[in-house]
Amino acid sequence: MPEPSIAVPPPPDPLLTRASVTFHTNDDDKDNDTLVEVEVRLSDQRTVVAKLSDYLGHFPDHRDAGPFTLLMVHPVRRSQLRTGNVNILASANTTFPPFGHGDTWRFNFVVDLVFDDGAHLLARANGVQLKSRGVAAQQSFGIE
């Protein structure tokens, strides 16, 4: 007689509980009036999971800034975020025509995604440059 099969519970898939971003500015600062947006998105590119949009003030050369906690806008589990991405946008002030004074910002960043089991996923890069002149500049990065 065959032994009864024992149901194996599925592996836990923890919920995202906190998202934060930390910057280190390298040799070109961020102006105090340059808007920074950070969005954590699922792979469909439409679903925003967590976001931050703020001027955050002046980031001088060779300084750390943050961590800044992102606003959580869509509950997700870790498995969904493995194929997600982080988009970082900088938009310089455009008060002065034709393109405002512009801003070039060179920096490193770490986005720290913390789940309810205490483990993390990360997105990070060094040597990023966002050059905003008239239009916002942005780059996307994978989550590891």
């Binding site: 280190h24 060779h62 490193n108 720290d112 089991d117 483990a119 993390h120 996923l121 990360l122």
Partner: protein, 127 residues
């Protein structure tokens, strides 16, 4: 593949950002990851060469010497030690990335550190 607190450490790496005081090329750096009971889980010790002001170094992979679970490492620590040849003051940030076999991480990090020939070691919790 184990998951949750049973996930097993598969890679440990450390990255440095040197601030406004460099590390001499002959200053030896040791990074040691320990469990709460002080069991060494992973370590690296090397001179790594000169770390210039305002530069990145790494990531450097640590040698894993003891199998450890995420649950055990949540209460662990990392020690960063410098052994200079003579005098050296090094100001830096570090980021320790502990990767587990389920693809999730624990980390330890700190900014604005200074270690010198007179204060050679600092320890930090793992988050």
């Amino acid at each position: 593949m184990a998951t949750g607190d049973n996930a097993v450490l598969t890679r440990a790496s450390v990255s440095f950002h040197t601030n406004d005081e460099d590390k001499d090329d002959d200053s030896r750096v040791e990074v040691t990851v320990r469990l709460m009971d002080q069991t060494v889980v992973a370590s690296i010790a090397d001179e790594f060469g000169h770390f210039d002001d305002h530069s990145e170094a790494g990531p450097f992979d640590l040698l894993i010497t003891q199998a450890a679970s995420r649950g055990a490492l949540k209460t662990g620590s990392v020690a960063v030690k410098i052994s200079p040849n003579g005098n050296d003051t090094w100001r830096f940030n570090f980021f320790l990335d502990l990767l587990f076999d389920d693809g999730a991480h624990l980390i330890a990090r700190a900014n604005g550190l200074e270690i010198t020939e007179s204060r050679q070691e600092q320890s930090f919790g793992i988050e």
